[in-house]
Symmetry: C2
Subunit: 412 residues, 2 copies
């Protein structure tokens, strides 16, 4: 299960690539010659599956002709398996299709990558225990760090789908209402505590209309993306009581250009950590539903050197995406194809495992050191923030492509 | 401005109808003969504007051929004015078009009414001061009733667009995690404190991509619907800290079948109440942007008599929809055509003005009496809840149609 599958696309057989034949992630690309269309990454190339469907090599009811994977996802699990099988067969070393397919490969380096799907609705969770404990300790003290419901509910809130953008999109520092603890009245100005949140996003690939089980939720998840939930901590601090974060989270959420399917991640399944309190039946997992995915955050000042500022693993989550999705449906909430569920910030137990600057700099009290001698408490204008993630097999890895965004100065 | 405009559709000239020529609200209908399509209410009839556009009487780029007003809204303010002018001309008393148009009228009584538009995203606000004060007093005591940010920010949170349904849709009582103050651990079961929230919903008719002013926001609002934000108070109490309501609000939100345009409501504009604290510049209103709309809530037990349980007015709101929309864009949040903004629960100063059962029964401590001798603290299975609203001119009124839903027992 964890051995490299060899491809006739030789760059896919390197231990360096994020896109071996074992991965086959789905994206949307264009270049000087073709408009936005569905593509699949293999090594340093993109296979143009839109043209393969047009030519009859693949057959998915025309769903690969659209500039997003929404219509294909809606076809359901059988189609998901069939396409993956077709692609493995077409791209395997020794395939008779090599000659015919070579002309339908486009170098990733020459392509522009777009949103891989149109987000229906976006929900963000708060399901990393180290993160929740860190935040709670900063704001409420160590004794009251975890809210009383935290060990029972995968806490989530609705986000803003219109603000989800693909990696590479510049992020303008937001304005908002700000009021420091010593200020008499609020003022309106640019956020001075602009931050990232390192997350994974689960993509709902099948609709539901009523409560579903965790097992059903697992089957309904099409795949995953890296997700950076940009967060204005100073706006959040003033606005979030009593109804939760709103404008602090609405500037942008950046996702990776490639959707890594649940099928590709299957060899890397792992269990959620031991429960500190028993979960109610509807949240019990029938099997391992997290994944062992190593994650990093790096920060590159404008014109400066890149520093890796955090390293953690998706396996640190207390709740899996299927648990979150099942909880999301308890009230009867209809779920739709292309709903996006953010995991919540993924921090680990040590300082270097923290998935946000708020935690890394402990609310700004302990600025972190960068490679070139600079320090950071929060993001400065011009900083490029990059999330990366990979599941590691024997001699290969499965990744998502960089999930990056550069922060531009606030509007005048 | 406030005089009845006479129509050759005689039922539109009655002081009883909600749909005089002054109104011209937009909906989507079907009947045994026609599929879902755009229609305009006039008296007790619906004018089939899809067929009028097909026949060339109206010309809006085919946008009236779809089963929703989204495409038409996207055309922008000039088109909005043109259609309203066209309809006034076609339907006015003495119009030469009466003979040609009569065959394109469908009795409302024979039609099924559908969602008038496809909701892009749904945001719910908390902008009624009497409501916020009542809730705050119940949960935090009278001294701390209003959160410190309340007089500065139109507080809002993102809701769930997939759960918005049209009037007449049955509502299944939700399950959820529940934990009473004396319970050791939470349990999973049906909500026992299921409630309504009387609101108005503002529909964003034009997109924006960055901060906009209150004046621009006013121009971008296409129209309004009645909105009932069904709320499970017991689920909410346990889940909402620290990130706000989630499953408590995700069962359903019911809207009226008719969109009343901002143009139709224009003669009824009124100012927000006097500010208790000065607002920041970006929230200042250049003119009156609330509306004088009388509102009622009624409850009809299964097989019982209807009781009006609350009466209030949209003019009670502390923040207008344009203020809410402007605030919504401060962080750069992109707004889209067909975003729906709930006003927040509209309560007035007296007990009978309260827009939720939570307030009317004061958290269940003071059950209200119904016409037939029964009492209610929260909704019981089989209850039909109906919101109504009307702006009153001289001898006429402008309404939205009933916004109703019957609550069915929880799933087994």
């Amino acid at each position: 299960m964890r051995d490299l599958k060899e491809s006739w696309v030789t760059s896919a057989n390197s231990s360096e690539t994020e896109f071996p034949l074992n991965n086959l992630p789905y994206g949307v690309f264009s270049n000087g010659e073709v408009d936005q269309r569905c593509g699949v990454a293999i090594g340093d190339q993109i296979l143009d599956v839109a043209v393969l469907e047009r030519d009859g090599v693949l057959s998915f009811g025309g769903t690969l002709q659209t500039a997003g994977w929404n219509a294909f996802m809606a076809l359901g699990q059988d189609a998901w398996s069939t396409l993956r099988g077709d692609l493995e067969r077409l791209l395997a070393a020794g395939s008779q299709h090599e000659a015919a397919l070579t002309s339908h490969l486009v170098p990733i380096a020459d392509a522009i990558l777009h949103m891989p799907f149109t987000v229906a609705e976006f929900t963000d969770f708060y399901a990393g225990k180290h993160h929740a404990t860190n935040i709670g300790t900063m704001f409420r003290g160590a004794e009251n760090a975890l809210p009383p419901n935290w060990l029972h509910i995968p806490i989530g809130y609705n986000g803003r789908a219109s603000s989800v953008v693909v990696s590479g999109t510049d992020i303008v520092r937001p304005h908002g209402q700000l009021k420091g603890p010593d200020d008499e009245v609020p003022r309106f100005g640019p956020s001075a505590r602009f931050d990232i949140e390192l997350e994974l996003g689960a993509i709902v690939g099948q609709p539901s209309n009523g409560p579903i089980s965790v097992a059903q939720a697992f089957n309904n998840v099409f795949g995953y993306v890296l997700l950076n939930d940009w967060s204005a901590r100073d706006i959040q601090a003033w606005e979030y009581q009593p109804l939760g974060p709103f404008q602090a989270k609405a500037t942008a959420t950046t996702i990776s250009p490639w959707i890594v399917t649940a099928a590709a991640l299957d060899p890397f399944r792992t269990s959620t950590p031991e429960r500190e309190k028993p979960l109610l039946d509807y949240l019990q997992e029938p099997g391992p539903m997290l994944y062992d995915i190593a994650l990093t955050v790096s920060l590159t000042p404008k014109g400066g050197a890149e520093s890796v500022i955090a390293q953690t693993n998706y396996a640190e989550m207390y709740y899996s995406a299927p648990q979150q999705l099942a909880h999301h449906t308890t009230s009867g909430c209809p779920m739709r194809v292309a709903d996006l569920l953010g995991s919540g910030t993924i921090s680990g137990p040590e300082r270097e495992n923290r998935g946000s600057l708020l935690e890394l700099s402990w609310g700004g009290k302990e600025p972190i050191a960068l490679e070139d001698g600079a320090t950071r408490s929060f993001i400065e204008d011009g900083d490029l923030l990059t999330l990366r993630g990979a599941a590691h097999g024997d001699g290969y890895r499965i990744g998502f492509g960089d999930c990056s965004g550069r922060v531009l100065p606030a509007r005048k």
